[in-house]
């Protein structure tokens, strides 16, 4: 596709979190996008394109960031990209209702490159609260094009596309970013450093003035790179002396100056901005974040969230299940009719169709789970739940954002592990990556719901389910305390978190948010589950025609059960599904189905063959015993370490064996 278009334009989207940057990106690129990682970094890189007048416009959506200092990898990646990749245009997305804050990034970027345009988004919301923005006045003062847009309005898309085309092809727009002048003292220092840089003929891809500003700010990343090649002791001595004599806190002085310049610009171009008034969000927060109600409300919302996921998906799952078994039956009969060899029939029916079924069956639950999360996220509640949970999480040495990765993990651990990216503290992040597989994903929810329903009265089943979930959360939190003992203590960054305004969730945003997360599951887990299903079929079919206990899987299961039966109460027929569940947890149910459906319904057979302690032992064991292969791959790609990946595999197994043995031995003794 790309090769058909000779002319390609590279356009970058940059902006604060929650300014609707991704919504605009999605509107412009539609389904022509893919998500990847920056090489060597676990930072998302979203790329998409659109074609206008036979020209290829490639759009890169950079991670949401507040500034271009070197506080995080995101910010370093962003500024590297802008200078090294030399995009045709950098578009700063800003929020009309929070103009000063969201233009701060524009001011920073203007020191880095000239090719900047500013899109002021959410103008519809601004209009509603009586804000009027004069974009011509902003253009005059900033020296770059300023567009007023709204991600809810299709007309904006057409205007943006036309703007991008014209900006590249015509002289209609001017790109002369205004030079920000700091206070005289600072300007003198900048000049002095700039001279030093030029005198030493220091050569980087960054503009000299920008380097000088960064050196003044004490930017670690810039200083490190420069110090590796040049001796800058003189420069720093000079800066420190000056700063001391002028009593300047250089760390924040330049940000402060930018804000004060910005304040003047915004004040002259915006009318109707009301500061320090109780907004609608404040009123809602009085209830949602109330010291007595916040936890009950949180529990009700999350309980509803899990119940809806479970009950809304079960009729769909049953429907798909019915359809597949009908289809499988028809195919099997047809294959028998045309006299296909038994092994081929078995491969197609029990291997391929069963494999596809295992993938299909989990799509509804995953899609519903992540669309509900998207609703919470888009409305502004998800950020608040991290805020509320911060108090609880801090008791375990974690921050509120760690709670979100746990919530995500209940859908699919791969998504949960990827959600740890918002955790800024390295120790917390590693701990949450390694322990995320303790949290039962949708696949294990299936096993838990199925088995508790067979063995226990409904109220007892519900209680047991809650206990199992509670236990898995306990393991994650306790492990964090445990890991805290081994990692070297670095000062954790205190909680600083922007709370987005409450908004009515928008269908488009929910669609894209759901699609990116459910897509991860469908793509990654889909292939894993399918291959695992074929593998299971192979293991349990060789030698072909033998009874289950004489297949490869049977021998393996019997070998392992010499240890697991006395210790955990798991006999060979129980070991096999767990073994198959290691690559993909979805396989547990299908393996149970194959092994226990001979001679009657699976429910009756299971009830007759397992004792209660055995059933509980099985439930407890499958709850936490090992991450699936897709989750392991995610651990590896997020930590970039084989050692930690190995830890992520063995740690849950050891913990599970210890706890399950204790529980089984006690139950076996008393019952």
């Amino acid at each position: 596709m790309q090769n058909d278009h000779i002319i390609e334009h590279k356009i970058v989207f940059l902006g604060n979190p929650n300014v609707g940057k991704s919504s605009l990106f999605n509107l412009l690129t539609g389904s022509h996008q893919h998500v990847g990682n920056w090489p060597g970094k676990t930072i998302e890189k979203k790329e998409g394109h659109f074609i206008l007048s036979d020209e290829f416009f490639s759009l890169i959506d950079l991670p949401g960031t507040y500034s271009l200092s070197a506080r995080s990898d995101e910010e370093i990646v962003t500024r590297k990209f802008i200078t090294e990749e030399e995009p045709d245009l950098v578009c700063i997305i800003s929020d009309a209702t929070r103009l000063e804050r969201t233009l701060f990034l524009a001011l920073q970027t203007m020191e880095l490159t000239k090719k900047i345009a500013i899109f002021i988004n959410m103008t519809d919301l601004a209009e509603k609260i009586g804000l009027y923005i004069d974009n011509k006045k902003l253009e005059e003062q900033l020296g770059v094009p300023v567009l007023l847009v709204s991600a809810t309005d299709d007309n904006s898309v057409i205007r943006i596309k036309k703007f991008l085309y014209d900006a590249i092809h015509t002289d209609k727009y001017e790109f002369n970013p205004a030079m920000l002048l700091y206070s005289t003292k600072i300007e003198l220092m900048i000049q002095s450093i700039s001279r030093q840089i030029e005198y030493r003929s220091i050569c980087t891809e960054y503009p000299t003035r920008w380097l000088a500003v960064k050196i003044l700010e004490g930017d670690e990343s810039v200083i490190e790179t420069l110090e590796a090649e040049y001796d800058l002791t003189n420069v720093f001595d000079k800066i420190n002396k000056l700063a001391k004599s002028e009593k300047l806190d250089l760390n924040v002085e330049l940000s402060k100056s930018k804000y004060s310049i910005l304040h003047k610009i915004v004040a002259s171009s915006v009318t109707g901005f009301k500061d320090f008034q109780e907004s609608r969000s404040d009123k809602v927060d009085k209830i949602i974040l109330n010291k007595f109600w916040s936890y009950p409300i949180l529990i009700v919302i999350y309980a509803a969230f899990f119940l809806i996921t479970f009950y809304a998906s079960s009729p769909i799952i049953n429907g798909i299940d019915l359809g597949i078994s009908q289809f499988s039956f028809i195919v099997e009969n047809w294959l028998i009719n045309i006299n296909s060899p038994a092994i081929l029939t078995s491969l197609i029916v029990n291997g391929i169709i069963a494999g596809i079924a295992a993938v299909l069956l989990f799509i509804p639950i995953i899609v519903i789970f992540y669309s509900l999360i998207a609703i919470m996220e888009d409305s502004g509640y998800l950020a608040r739940s991290a805020f509320i949970m911060d108090r609880v999480m801090s008791k375990f040495g974690l921050q509120g954002t760690a709670f979100l990765s746990m919530v995500m993990g209940f859908g699919c651990n791969v998504a949960g592990i990827m959600a740890t990216r918002t955790i800024k503290n390295e120790k917390d992040r590693i701990s949450m990556i390694i322990t995320n597989s303790f949290l039962p994903c949708a696949a294990r929810l299936g096993v838990i719901a199925f088995l508790t329903g067979i063995f226990f009265e409904p109220w007892l089943a519900a209680l047991l389910m809650l206990t199992l979930y509670g236990f898995s959360i306990f393991l994650v939190l306790a492990s964090s305390l445990l890991f805290g003992l081994f990692f070297k203590k670095n000062d954790p960054l205190p909680l600083i978190m922007e709370l987005p305004e409450y908004r009515r969730p928008r269908l488009r945003n929910i669609y894209y948010l759901t699609w990116t997360r459910a897509g991860i599951f469908i793509k990654k887990a889909g292939t894993f589950i399918f291959i695992a299903s074929l593998f299971i079929w192979l293991m349990s079919s060789i030698p072909f025609g033998a009874p289950p206990e004489r297949t490869i899987a049977g021998y393996l299961g019997r070998g392992i059960s010499y240890v697991t039966e006395p210790l955990l109460g798991l006999d060979w027929k129980m070991v096999i599904p767990l073994l198959f569940g290691i690559p993909a947890k979805e396989a547990i149910i299908s393996a149970l189905g194959i092994l226990y459906s001979t001679g009657g319904s699976i429910i009756e057979v299971l009830k007759a063959s397992w004792s209660i302690p055995q059933a509980i032992s099985f439930l407890l064991f499958q709850l936490t015993y090992a991450p699936c292969f897709a989750a392991l791959a995610a651990i590896r790609s997020e930590t970039k370490s084989w050692k930690l990946t190995a830890l992520g595999f063995y740690y849950p197994i050891i913990v599970t064996i210890i706890f399950t043995t204790i529980v089984f031995q006690i139950l076996n003794f008393v019952m």
Partner: protein, 77 residues
């Protein structure tokens, strides 16, 4: 001369002038990038249990109590 107070002791809905932040480099930077620095006026929107929430430049920022204790402010009438 009015007395400097700690952000953590400010009642809800009060507007204050930030005078001094004595936190670590990164925290100080982050706050400055969000517009919270010496000389800025902010409004406390929530302060009972858990992090303090302040309004700054039309946005709401939650600040952990451990950090809020390091922010010295001047109460405005």
């Amino acid at each position: 001369m009015k007395q400097l107070l700690l952000l953590i002791d400010i009642d809800e809905n009060k507007i204050v002038l930030v005078k001094e932040i004595s936190a670590g480099y990164k925290a100080q930077r982050f706050l400055a990038d969000l517009g919270i620095h010496e000389g800025e006026r902010i409004r406390v929107t929530k302060n009972d249990v858990g992090p303090v929430i302040v309004e700054v430049k039309g946005t709401r920022v939650a600040i952990g109590r451990g950090l809020a204790i390091k922010v010295k402010v001047l109460l405005e009438e």
